[in-house]
Symmetry: C2
Subunit: 333 residues, 2 copies
């Protein structure tokens, strides 16, 4: 592979000047600049990333901490994040973490080894050791779609959004409402809070614990399990709020398998508004998270931090919106 010395030799110039041209420094004569550019073009030379990384003590890589289950929601959000990071000149590398937390150590080790310039966390890590490292190493990072007090983050107001979603059901006349959520993320808890708040305000706060089932993962499979569990407890309800669309999809499956019609017998509301929500039968009513904005904000906020333009203490809030489709209908008790 052709390197900077090869170019220097061909041009009869020192490597230092080649470097200057590559990095767009001003103090190079136009003639030499043109010559070098021509040579680079001809030879197809591309600077060796590893060498630059070493001397500049940067990796030009941003790590994405994400759960290994990597659902449709995360996939969509990632696409937007990636696009913006690329436009800022970063590469992107996944740091997978399993839900049970057993791999958080491995993730930390990979962090130290790869040394990304920054980190975007789409998955909520529990280990305090992890956050200690982030602080100690002063590694720029931002959490997306959830927040951790005192750290930069971009997310919607989960509790308020859940409140609105459940209120939509209440306004349709539903009173006996169930919820499926997960403990994995703090937003699962916040969405549950919004759920209870809405119930409370409507004066239908009965059997608090029986209304809610907590499952392990935000997947269609666990949505199905959760719904089955709720059905075992009681069939006396007319609406279900799922903490994510994936859970809603699984819940709808379980309801259908038991002969319930949606929305005639049971209304279903999801959360996230993933792409497929609009392709389901019936189309799923859901809370829209603005992926494009969240992705862009996460990337550009991180970029600012990395390039030292960080203003400090940002906890960005993205707007959400209830998208009403076919899976919710008037209560017809």
């Amino acid at each position: 592979m052709v390197n900077i010395k090869d170019i220097a030799k061909k041009a009869g110039i020192s490597p230092a000047t080649i470097s200057r041209v590559i990095n767009g420094k001003s103090n190079v004569s136009p003639e030499k600049r043109d010559l070098v550019l021509k040579l680079i073009e001809e030879t197809g030379y591309v600077p060796n990333q590893a060498a630059r990384n070493m001397v500049l003590r940067r990796s030009f890589t941003v790590g994405i901490v994400i759960s290994d289950t990597f659902n449709m929601f995360q996939r969509q959000l990632f696409s937007f994040i990636e696009r913006h990071l690329t436009s800022f000149g970063y590469h992107t590398m996944f740091f997978f973490v399993t839900f049970d937390g057993s791999s958080e150590d491995a993730c930390l080790a990979k962090l130290k080894s790869v040394k990304p310039d920054g980190l975007i966390m789409i998955h909520e890590i529990r280990s305090p050791v992890f956050y200690e490292y982030l602080e100690r190493s002063r590694l720029p990072f931002i959490t997306a779609t959830f927040s951790r007090p005192g750290f930069p983050s971009i997310h919607v107001d989960d509790e308020a959004a859940a409140f609105d979603a459940v209120n939509h059901l209440i306004n349709l006349g539903h009173r006996k409402i169930r919820m499926i959520s997960s403990e994995g993320f703090s937003c699962g808890l916040q969405r549950a809070d919004g759920f209870f708040k809405a119930l409370e305000q409507a004066g239908v706060m009965r059997n608090e614990k029986d209304n809610l089932v907590m499952v392990r993962h935000y997947t269609t499979e666990f949505g199905m399990y959760g719904m089955r569990e709720l059905l075992l407890r009681s069939r006396d309800f007319s609406a279900v709020f799922a903490a994510t669309d994936e859970l809603a999809i699984g819940a709808m499956r379980a309801l259908r398998d038991e002969g319930f019609r949606i929305p005639e017998d049971v209304s279903v509301v999801g959360f996230d508004d993933i792409e497929i929500a609009d392709y389901l039968m019936p189309r799923l009513t859901s809370i829209r998270q603005p992926f494009p904005e969240i992705g862009e904000q996460a990337a550009s906020s991180l970029h600012k931090q990395i390039s030292g333009k960080y203003e400090g203490g940002l906890d960005l809030t993205a707007p959400y919106r209830l998208v009403i489709r076919e899976s919710t209908a008037l209560y017809s008790g």
Copy 2:
């Protein structure tokens, strides 16, 4: 950040010996080894990846060439590939390519800069320049879920699988069958070949071109467009074969919007058997691609190539299986 010299100083040993311990070389005395290990543990030292990359002329990274649309099928396959690559000690980095091919140059530049140890291609690049570079640079690579004559690959027999899928419809009594596919990938063409072969064998090969619609991307959205186009041409059919599940989901949406019941009025078959196929209403009949095997084979074949254990000329074929669910039913003309 603590480096190898720091460890050496603390231990009163030369950096070379530290390096030997880190890399598990045998010729180190047990006492020194233990001392070094202890120090590494204490200090939290992790070797600097960039420095190793430079001197070893390796990146310990495998590139994944994937389309920027990055659908559910690719997401699922990627998860398996990633898992295995990690177990072999590789990092993973995406090389996104847009469907229109405009970014193939950028992808090539990134390739030269990052210098991955190998490449797994889930997306079919057209540019011959790209393949020329692969050959010239002798970069190990393998194509997954499609094949390119003369190059290592792992994939199912798309034509045979499509043939079986369509035959399933024919055995159910369907004669007027439509197909939605895409030109983007060669497998879209091969699946169309299987479709026509099955029709031909059943003696229902009429209006060849009208039976098939080609759309731009393998997405739900384009599946919907494709189906609308078919409906515009004629409503006289009883079954649809979609080249991917995503297309099938979009097609089902379009059919439902026009009042068709599935499978009572129209049977639908997909291809890939993505996770969600079993959660749709109705559950989607589909050809199962064995993600776990394809992912494992792709990763381990590449690993063999990288470590010089490549036996040459492998064109691996993975088994497929028709999974019959609820979206296909007897023709009830």
